[in-house]
């Protein structure tokens, strides 16, 4: 009820302000929509709400979060692609699996790079390899040694099929010569619960999903699958440090707008987000969410998305993963 009333109030206010703003012609003259193509409560949504909370500090107009889940993120993203390119329609979570992984696996209804302008990167959700607290494994070497000695498959819990976590673990298995059998669940929460119950040998997840279990003593972290260590868990070594030459970009979370949005508007949005990235309260909020803040401006982020997409395409080709 509260949200509805607030929304109505904001909408009325917006109507009221439009004529004045038209004359002034300054962006933003009405609230900006931040569309999250995932369900409320997930890591993308939590990040969007952290942005929303501090947006008002740096912009005269508030941000309104809208969730539009479906099709692994495609449904909501397509809505943004088809929306008016005026800067009032922002896509939050740009760089997720359906932007950088899915294009290499299936036909997309739009081009995630050409049809969207990267505004800023906010966070990277790395892939962490973990095992249950009672597991005999204490490092990646133990996993490899077990596989070499027993010759048995290593059952591995992953959040979804062909997602960032699944790809990272499959790539690890291929590079290290370990017979990894990934068992997909519906989302990180279910995958980590099954791992905590001891039903699988190892598992993968994003820091926001595994850190609570590590803190509660149910999981042992084995490796981070990033080129460098993850700032949200600096004590955990990377796969490379443990002698396995595999690194992926995990799941990237940034902001984008539809292609055709005026340059100065993109600049304004970019500057605002980069300001929020430096806000100490925002940093604190993100820390509590176990999401590392790894901000990047529009130009660098555009290049990053291109690179990450190419890297994933290469990986998928090497691993020979197919969906259709």
């Amino acid at each position: 009820m509260k949200r509805l009333t607030a929304l109505l109030a904001v909408m009325l206010l917006a109507l009221f302000l439009v004529p004045v703003a038209m004359a002034a012609d300054v962006f933003p003259s009405k609230p900006v929509t931040g569309l999250v193509p995932m369900a409320p409560g997930g890591s993308s949504d939590l990040m969007a709400r952290a942005l929303e909370k501090y947006w008002g500090k740096y912009s005269p107009q508030p941000m309104v979060i809208v969730n539009k889940p479906g099709g692994g993120g495609v449904v909501g993203t397509e809505q943004i692609v088809r929306s008016k390119p005026d800067g009032y329609n922002m896509y939050i979570a740009y760089g997720s699996g359906h932007d950088i992984v899915m294009p290499s696996l299936q036909k997309m209804p739009y081009d995630p790079q050409k049809d969207l302008i990267a505004v800023a990167r906010v966070s990277i959700h790395s892939v962490v390899i973990v095992t249950g607290a009672n597991s005999p494994f204490n490092s990646i070497k133990d996993v490899i040694a077990y596989s070499k000695k027993e010759g048995k498959p290593v059952t591995t819990a992953v959040s979804v099929k062909a997602g960032a976590v699944d790809l990272a673990l499959t790539a690890f298995g291929k590079a290290a010569g370990v017979n990894i059998v990934t068992v997909p669940f519906s989302g990180g929460a279910e995958a980590t619960t099954a791992l905590a119950g001891g039903h699988l040998m190892i598992g993968g997840g994003h820091p926001s999903e595994v850190i609570p279990h590590i803190k509660a003593g149910r999981f042992k972290p084995l490796a981070v699958v990033l080129p460098q260590r993850d700032p949200s868990m600096p004590d955990v070594p990377t796969l490379k440090e443990q002698g396995v030459d595999v690194a992926t970009w995990g799941s990237v979370k940034g902001v984008a707008v539809p292609a055709g949005t005026p340059k100065e508007v993109v600049k304004y949005l970019e500057t605002t987000i980069l300001k929020i990235c430096k806000d100490p309260e925002f940093l604190e909020t993100m820390k509590n969410l176990n999401q590392p803040v790894m901000c990047q401006g529009s130009e660098e982020f555009t290049k990053f998305i291109k690179q990450a997409t190419e890297d994933y395409a290469k990986l998928i080709k090497e691993l020979n993963i197919k969906i259709d």
Binding site: R3, P40, G41, G71, V75, T155, K161, F185, A194, A196
Partner: protein
């Protein structure tokens, strides 16, 4: 001790004005809609599900839904007693003696004992939930994919075999529910299935739309057809306080009903409907004057009405600890939790203690509210049964359409809502019970996924379902129950006494 401190913190959440208000609204609206003939708990929750998109706090949203659930459970008895029309399936047996009592001018006593029995049983049920849920949650971690598969399948089959209606029809409903659930993304491979190029179908059918259509609209369409002639036994209720004689007769019936309801509620596929049937049968068996049953025996009202409320409390246990909804109404609450970004399971108590304890505490409060709402105001509820259904139905349909559109803002959902509504109508016309369909729709992805996960774990061997002790015991338990029921049927058929 942890339970105690958890409960205390739960009360501090449930007693905040906003949560108190929503518990009250839930109980009130639930009772009001539950009083309407035909609209049971599942339909009531289905119709009101979109409300949770407006309530921002997850705990408040679930408090509202739980309130609607047990509110409609209370309300269901009113029409059974006054109109001989069960307000919901779990009150069907209440009609038998309740309506007879009303005809003899004892409507007040029947309504009163139903409310008191509901209160006592509901509260004892919640005490059980409070004590057992945290224990079961600890045990629940040992439920991996093979155990989940066995439990879900056993639950689905039990929902069919125990329902008392045609098993073949129930199996057809199960299959249809599973088929509908398979539309959308394949949970293991990520392929799109049965979407026929329709982008809205890529993520499958929306549960809220399906539930509102099949349960809500379907029952309303049928109601519109049936509501032309309804004989009201009486709207003069009289004193709702049971006499000493009534109390003596129903005291033990309430306790027995509570126990029966509590245990049947925990079993997947069990729930309110079955527990009320079992309770009635038991009361008839133990009664000193079984000949009074069917002629207005107060135990015949007290037992089943207690049983269905105890069952509705205890059916929260498998949901909150294992993340497995055991019946259609609880499946709605399951969907509501998921929509609010909360995955119920063994870690719910640790990760979302505010939701777990807040909802449980609000159930204690809600039961008190319901007693207060029902005892003195029962006359008012009785008046509600006189509002012509022809007036009420269009308004409910309108709100259903608005509600379904408001969720995602796409016209496609309205078409599918109406489609599912017509489908639900046809099902009822053909005497198909839609409960198993909706339960299968919710459990379908779980059944499929956990089976394929198990097979990935075992390297393709089906033995994994019988080599793991919990999974084996679940399958064994089901086999024993089916064998028992079959033996009973055969015995009855050949028994000379019948």
């Amino acid at each position: 001790m942890e339970t105690f401190s958890g409960l205390i913190s739960g009360f501090s959440i449930a007693l905040t004005p906003i949560n108190l208000l929503f518990a009250f609204i839930g109980a009130l609206v639930g009772t009001a809609i539950g009083v309407l003939p035909g609209l049971g708990p599942a339909a009531t929750i289905a119709l009101l599900l979109p409300a949770i998109y407006v309530v921002s706090e997850p705990v408040t949203a679930i408090i509202l839904m739980a309130g609607i659930f047990y509110g409609s459970m209370y309300g269901g008895s009113t029409t059974s007693i006054l109109l001989n029309l069960p307000g919901e399936a779990a009150s069907v047996v209440t009609c038998i003696d309740g309506y007879k009592m009303a005809k003899k001018g004892r409507a007040g006593a029947a309504l009163g004992i139903a409310a008191i029995g509901s209160f006592v049983a509901g509260t004892i049920g919640i005490v059980g939930l409070t004590l057992f849920a945290p224990l079961i949650a600890e045990f629940a971690l040992s439920f991996g994919p093979p155990e989940k598969f066995s439990l879900a399948v056993v639950g689905l089959l039990m929902a069919v075999t125990l329902s008392g209606s045609s098993i073949i029809k129930g199996l057809v409903m199960l299959a249809l529910g599973l088929l509908l659930a398979s539309v959308g993304l394949d949970p293991i491979s990520g392929k799109t299935r049965f979407s026929f190029g329709v982008i809205e179908l890529q993520s499958g059918f929306d549960f809220v739309t399906l539930a509102m259509g099949v349960f809500g609209l379907g029952e309303i369409f049928i109601g519109l057809e049936a509501a032309v002639k309804v004989e009201v036994a009486t709207t003069k209720v009289g004193s709702v306080w049971p006499t000493l004689k009534d109390w003596a007769a129903s005291r033990m019936a309430i306790l027995r009903g509570t126990l029966i309801g509590f245990f049947i509620g925990v079993i997947p596929g069990g729930g309110a409907v079955i527990s009320s049937l079992v309770s009635y049968a038991v009361e008839k068996k133990v009664a000193k004057h079984p000949e009074e049953f069917g002629e207005g025996a107060i135990e015949g009202v007290a037992g089943p009405e207690s049983a269905n409320n105890a069952a509705s409390s205890s059916s929260f246990i498998p949901l909150l600890t294992l993340g497995i909804p055991g019946n259609a109404s609880i499946a709605m609450i399951f969907a509501a939790l998921l929509i609010k970004g909360i995955t119920p399971g063994p870690f719910l108590i640790q990760e979302h203690p505010e939701v777990f304890w807040g909802v449980i505490a609000s159930m204690y409060l809600g039961n008190v509210m319901l007693l207060v709402l029902n005892l003195p105001l029962v006359g008012l509820w009785a008046q509600l049964t006189r509002v012509p259904f022809g007036l009420m139905a269009p308004v409910i349909i309108l709100f259903t359409v608005i509600g379904s559109y408001s969720i995602q803002g796409q016209a496609f959902d309205i078409y599918s809502l109406i489609g599912f509504g017509l489908f639900g109508y046809v099902l009822r016309k053909l005497k198909f019970e839609p409960g198993p369909l909706v339960l299968a729709f919710v459990l379908g992805p779980m059944v499929e996924q956990s089976m394929r996960q198990s097979l990935l774990m075992s390297g393709g061997s089906f033995l994994i379902f019988v080599t793991r002790p919990i999974s084996l015991s679940l399958i064994g338990l089901f086999a024993v129950l089916v064998a028992g029921q079959a033996a009973l049927t055969i015995y009855k058929r050949f028994s000379p006494n019948n």
